[in-house]
Every structure is written in C-alpha cells, then in structure tokens.
Amino acid sequence: MELLGKTNIDFIGQRNISFIISAIISIIGIIGVIQITRGAANMGIDFSGGTSMQVRFSKPVPISEARVALHKNGIAKVDLQEIKDSNKLLVKIDKNTTVALGKAAEAVQVAFKKGFPDNAFTVESSTEIGPSIGEKLRKDTLVAVLISLLGIILYIAWRFDFKFGIGAIAATTHDVLAMFAVFFLLNKEINLLFITAVLTIAGYSLTDTVVVFDRIRENLHKNLKGAMDNIFNASINEVLSRTIITSLTTFIAAASLFFFGGEVIHDFSLALLVGIAVGTYSSVFVASPIVVLLENRALKGAKA
C-alpha cells in the first residue's frame, strides 16, 4: 500500500507563505516564553510554588459553590477547574495566599467539609511546593533546556555542514516555540511535564529533518548542476511519504495517550501531539527552505 504516490509539490516555492506562518507561530511562542519568565503565564505550582489538589466528590459540585465554600473559610485566591465526566475538582492555590504553606491542603478539606456536609469527598492527590523548591526547579529546568539544546546543536554541527546545521537548529527552535505558543494560547499549565514534552520533541523532531536532509545531500552529490530549488523540491517529494508515516506512527501512539491515558498525562500528550505535528511541518517548510536560501546566497557570492 502507498499513502502517496509520486508527488511533485513545489514546497520551496511556497516559502514566503510558510515563513510568514512560522514567523507568526514563533512570535507567539516567544511572547509565551517571555510571559513565562515573567511569571505571568499559567505556571504549574512546581515552578511557582503553592498548593494543588485533586478532590473527588461523591456528588457533582458546581465550581461557583466550591468557590463560595472556600471563600467563606478564608481561602480567597484560588483557581478551580472541573475534570469532565467525573465529580473531580482541581484546586490550585497560589503561594501568595493568606494560608500558610503546609496548611493550605488541610484548610481546603476543612472548607469543603463545612461547605458540603452531605457530599463526601476524597483527596486523590495533593502537592505543596515551597517557594525555594520552585526556584530550584526553575533553575534546574533552565539548565536542562540549555544543555540539551547545546547537545543537539553540537551534534548537528558535527554531522552537517554549517548551512544544514542552521536549518536544523531553526526548525528545532521553531518546534519548541510552537509548543509554547499553543500552550500559551490555550492557557494550559506550564509545568515540569510540559518541559519534559518539549525536550522530548526537541530531540525527536530532528528525525524528520534528518530524513529530508540526508536525501537532499545525497541528491546534491549526484547532481551538482540542477537549480537548487529543484533538487530540494525533488528530494522532499521523494521522502515525503516516509516523513509523514514516521510521524504518523508516533502520532498514533501519542494520540492513544491523549484519549485514553487519563487526566494526569492529558496535557503532556497534547504537547507531544502538537510537537510531532509541527516537527513534521518544520522539516519540510522551515528547515529546507532556510538551507535553500543560504545555498543560493552562497552561490551568488561565488559568482560575483
């Protein structure tokens, strides 16, 4: 079976459109990253410090009533979220609340007991993170991100020549920014699991880029005379089906995590899905056109 027969799509010719799309995605991503470093995004408590609880009630509880119950007991700044299809409530309390750390989880339980005396509940999970731990995790994460990016860049630099290296790094950066952009726009929580997904994709998304690049280099060696754009287009078209299928199988696996893996890794799987999809797009529409641009410029320079 073949998904795609012989294709002949002018990918490189579309670069103006794809560059505009990617630029918009990247700018949103950069804004997201800036907001995160400023602490203005929806930060998980593992970075910001605070308390988060998952409570399961025996009967449905409207968010507004839960909020009132918490307010009455002195917990004013609280973020509530319902988990669909179950009577579960996510309670997130900022570290800057009036309730002392270590007491917030208890205070929430007391408030719910008073507010809903005939609705028994169990605390399925609770996490309390002190500000010093949050700060340490933020620092560690930053170091981890920098080291992995550096590692990837060094590997690319060793495997490819300069122009391909630039293309690969641009594509990887683009994928990472796109994940931040989506999570920022959907106001999803930025937590350790999200960063884990980002780093995983940073490593994985290179697969597609490498597949495309290897073919381009192979064809460049065979045929030095053709126009750059044509060689690139032909190469991308030749490997298009495998680029899509490799991503597809991983996408299927991540999708089953997204739909059946439960709420704990729901957002994590979403991040992976976004990353895999964007990674495929970028290997064709970001990495390759950038290399074409650089190659063409080098050629012009050589002629002049």
């Binding site: 079976m1 495998r242 991983t250 704990v264």
Partner: protein, 530 residues
C-alpha cells in the same frame, strides 16, 4: 546461509530469555521456592504516582541547631560560674552566633575570661566592653564549628526521622539527604499521610518547667527569665479549642533527652490514654530532686512550646517514671510516644515540598496507562501490517521485542516505573517502527530501481543506517539530560525513553534484519512483501 545469521539469532534469543528471567519476579505473584541463588529477585518498582504515597522534602533549620548549642553553652556557663562563686548579671545567647556574658566588675571579668578560655578554647572572645555600666564580653562560635554543627544537625535529624518512620511502620520508605540541608522522605502506599507528616515534622522538644504562679498570665510585663505559653485543650464533643495561658520559668528543669522510654497506657479510671515515660538514671535523680524541692507547686510539661499539662506536684517522685496526660486520643498518644522514644530533632524542620497521591488515583493511572498502551500498540501494529504487509508484521515483531527488552532492562536495573515512564513506552511503540519505516521506504525505492529483493534489502539497510542513527542520537541526548535533571516522574520518563532508544537501535538494525535474511537466504523469494 548468509554469514552472521547464527550469532544474531542466538543473541536475540539470549536477550529474550534474559528479559523473561528478569521479568519473572515482577510478573509472578509468588516466586517458586527453588527460585533463589543468582536468579534475579528485583521487581520493576512502581513510582509514588502509580502506587500512591507521599514524597516529602524537608528543610532543616540548621541555624536553630547552632543557636541551640549556644543556649547550652550559656546554661553551662551559668552553672559553672555559680559553682565557682563568680557573680554575674546575665549570660545569654545574643544574635545567632554568640553568647554575651555581663558581670559586675572588671576583676570578675578577668577571672571569667580566663575560665571561659580554658573551658571553651575554640570560641573567639571579644575584648571587654561597657554595657550599661556593667562589664561585658562576647563569646563567638567560630565559622568552622558552626558549619560542623549545622552539618551534624542534618545527619541527626535524618537519623531521628528514620527512627520515627520505622516505629510508625511504613514498608520500604526512602529517607535520604539531599543537598546541604534538605531531607527527602518517600512513604509509599501510606494510608494517613497527614498523620505521618505531623509525626515527621514535629521537633518534639520535651521540657519540664516550673509554673510562675506569682505572675498572672494577664500581666503586661513578664521578666526576662519567664515566658508566656499556652495550654491547648480540645473539647472532644464540640471540637472547640480552648487555650489557657500560663507563665513559666524559662529555664527547663528536665529535658526530653533524659528519657529512656515512652509508652501508651490507658487510664483505668477514666478510660483515657496517657503516655508513660521512664527517665535515665540521671533524669530520675534530677526528677527526684525537683519534685522533692517543689511539693505543692505546679510544673508544666511542655512539648515544642505547647503546654500539655500542668499538674501540681503532690509528693516527691523518686521512681524515675512519670506520665504525660492531656487530651489524647489513642492515635495522638501513640504518635507522642513514638516521637519521645525516637528523640527530638536537633533543629526544627520545615516541609518545603509535599506530593501526595492517593491509592485510587495511582490505580486509575496504571489502568489508563496500560489501556492507552494497548490501544496504541494495536493501532500501530494494524497500520504497519496494512501498509507494509508481511514486512510490516516483521516491524511489529521488532516492536514487541523492543517492549519486552525494555521491560526486562527496567526490571534488571531495578528502575522505577512512573506514569510518564509508561507514556515513554507508549511513545516508543510509535518511534520504534519509525526506523523500520525509513528502512522499508528505502527498500521500496531500491526495488523500483529494479534490484533483486536481497540486494534491495541490503541497500535499504545500509543507506538508511545513518539516518536511523541520527534520529536516535538526538533523542538520546535529551533523554540523558532529562535523566540528569529530572526528579520523580520525569526521571522515570527519561529512564524508559533512553533505554528504549538504545534497545530500539538494536532491534531495528539487527533484530528485524535477521528475519528478512532468514526468509531471503533460500533464494526462492522472488517478491518482497513490502
């Protein structure tokens, strides 16, 4: 037969056997009696997010430990000077690193300085200075000793916490030091986390202090040597908290380190639990003296600056045992007995991270993770079989081998499986066929060029090798970094991912190739099902 098929098949068979061997303890509910000796016994551990439990990070307030030892120095100097008949106005800790001694005249100061020099040679003495008309000097703990004291206090706190947890009864707890002043405590499968946290976090400094009945608690001026503390009582029926303030002598007559045992007893008269304590011989002697000298007066039993009870001393108590009664339930009495037996923490601890997962959520995560895994595996297997026919099935076989080897490796390393770890395995299901997709597409191309199945196969594997290698190395780089920096669940993800990537390289380059070689070596195959 092409060369190398033999050893490659044996290698795969050995790995399959080893994987099953290492997985046996995990899969078997009960190991047979002959399973012993060199056979592996380690299971794949489940992370706290899967089996439920509590992960705590405690910060030891090491500064308080230094202050505590300076307080002891101050008390000791008071006693020594009193014993030598040297009169002083005040000896007390000031700030966080020094003891200030104030005496009445220069002559005494010289004698005291000489004495202190002999007794505490490692401390730095300041020149004498004038303090409100009196002669004073400071005794400062040197930096190295202070560091040493801080370091020891964390080690001591760790020991004490370990004792408490052992006595509380948690199976397979993890208690270890992290960094300079952090202690990590993991309590898997704990039922009542709040109770355990209270037990671990309590400083448990037990003191016996005399009640100053000459000063009313409402008094606005409390002298330097006294303090105002509260006795909390909880009404068992209404739950209302009642606080009774009392003024106590600041100096403790007896402290908790003179105890040898503490046990819960039930008062036969009121059916009320209390904690019976036994003193060491020194403690018994002191207790005897104190009670003898203060018959008819009240003394308070104070734990961490809360008064538990303040009974009147009716008679001299010389047996070396006493009882602490208060508003106990059986649980709170049992917990108090545990902390008293295990001893006080050398410095207060603060909980700076507490992650608790209930057993139901853990179970839910396991079943959903497995479900997602099964569905993912089935979908990918189906897709590959349809798209690449027989070759797809060979890739599927490679993927199953992959999962088997990965589970075996996790068991062999005694690694911890977390929910993100399961996610990594599911993700690897998708990634592991990637290499085969790259190889197969190459083979299809070679076939289109008119090569024979055998030649196309070899060319496909050869030319795809570098591409497959590249994609694995970059994933491995990030997985390794995540392993280095991640904690808990993230580390589990990194372990599964990095092991999986390495194993995948083996199965896709050696595992599936050997099957193709076996089919093709007879030379009868005219067409490759791909």
């Amino acid at each position: 037969m092409p060369k190398g098929i033999g050893w490659r098949i044996s290698l795969i068979c050995i790995f399959v056997l080893l994987s099953f061997l290492y997985l046996t303890p995990t899969l078997a509910t009960k190991l047979p009696s002959w399973w012993g000796g060199l056979l592996p016994k380690d299971k794949i551990h489940l992370g706290l997010d899967l089996q439920g439990g509590t992960h705590l990070v405690l910060e030891v307030d090491t500064q308080k430990a230094v202050e505590g030892s300076l307080d002891i120095v101050a008390t000791d100097l008071e006693d020594t000077l009193t014993g030598k008949n040297l009169h002083f106005k005040r000896i007390s800790r000031t700030g966080s690193d020094k003891v200030t001694l104030v005496v009445y005249e220069k002559g005494t100061a010289d004698a005291v300085q000489k004495l202190v020099k002999e007794k505490y040679p490692d401390y730095e003495q300041s020149p004498v200075f004038d303090e409100g008309g009196f002669v004073a000097f400071n005794l400062r703990i040197n930096e190295k000793d202070a560091q040493d004291r801080k370091d020891k206090s964390v080690a001591q706190a760790l020991e004490t916490i370990r004792n408490r947890i052992d006595q509380f009864g948690v199976s397979e707890p993890v208690i270890q030091r992290e960094g300079i002043n952090h202690i990590v405590v993991q309590l898997p499968g704990i039922k009542d986390p709040q109770r355990a946290i209270d037990l671990i976090g309590k400083t448990a400094r037990l003191e016996f202090k005399m009640v100053r009945e000459d000063i009313p608690p409402s008094s606005t001026t409390i002298p330097d040597d006294a303090e105002l503390l509260k006795e909390k009582t909880v009404d068992p029926t209404t739950g209302a908290v009642n606080e009774i303030p009392l003024v106590l002598q600041k100096k403790a007559l007896i402290t908790g380190d003179l105890l040898t045992d503490a046990q819960v007893r039930i008062d036969s008269q009121f059916n009320q639990p209390y904690v019976a304590i036994d003193f060491s011989s020194l403690g018994a002697k002191l207790f005897d003296q104190v009670t003898a000298a203060n018959v008819g007066k009240r003394f308070a039993i104070v734990l961490d600056n809360n008064i538990y009870s303040a009974p009147v001393i009716r008679e001299r108590i010389s047996g070396g045992s006493a009882q602490i009664s208060g508003n106990f339930t059986e649980k709170t009495a049992a917990d108090l007995a545990i902390v008293l037996r295990a001893g006080a923490l050398p410095a207060p601890v603060k909980i700076i991270q507490n992650e608790t997962v209930g057993p139901s959520l853990g179970q839910d995560s396991i079943s959903k993770g497995l479900m997602a895994g099964m569905i993912g595996v089935l979908l990918v297997i189906g897709f590959m079989a349809i798209y690449y026919k027989l070759s797809g099935l060979i890739a599927d076989f490679g993927m199953v081998l992959n999962i088997l080897f990965l589970m075996g490796a996790l068991a062999a390393l005694g690694a911890t499986l977390t929910l993100p770890g399961i996610a990594a395995i599911v993700l690897l299901v998708g990634m592991s066929v990637d290499s085969n997709v790259i190889i197969f597409e190459r083979i299809r191309e070679e076939l289109k060029l008119g090569k024979s199945p055998g030649a196309a196969l070899d060319a496909g594997y050869d030319k795809a090798f570098l591409t497959v290698m590249d994609s694995h190395v970059t994933t491995l780089i990030t997985a390794a970094v995540l392993f280095q920096f991640g904690t808990g669940p993230v580390k589990g993800f990194a372990v599964s991912l990095s092991l999986g990537v390495i194993i995948n390289l083996f199965t896709s380059l050696i595992g599936t190739k050997v099957i193709f070689d076996m089919f093709l070596h007879k030379g009868t195959v005219k067409k490759l099902s791909i």
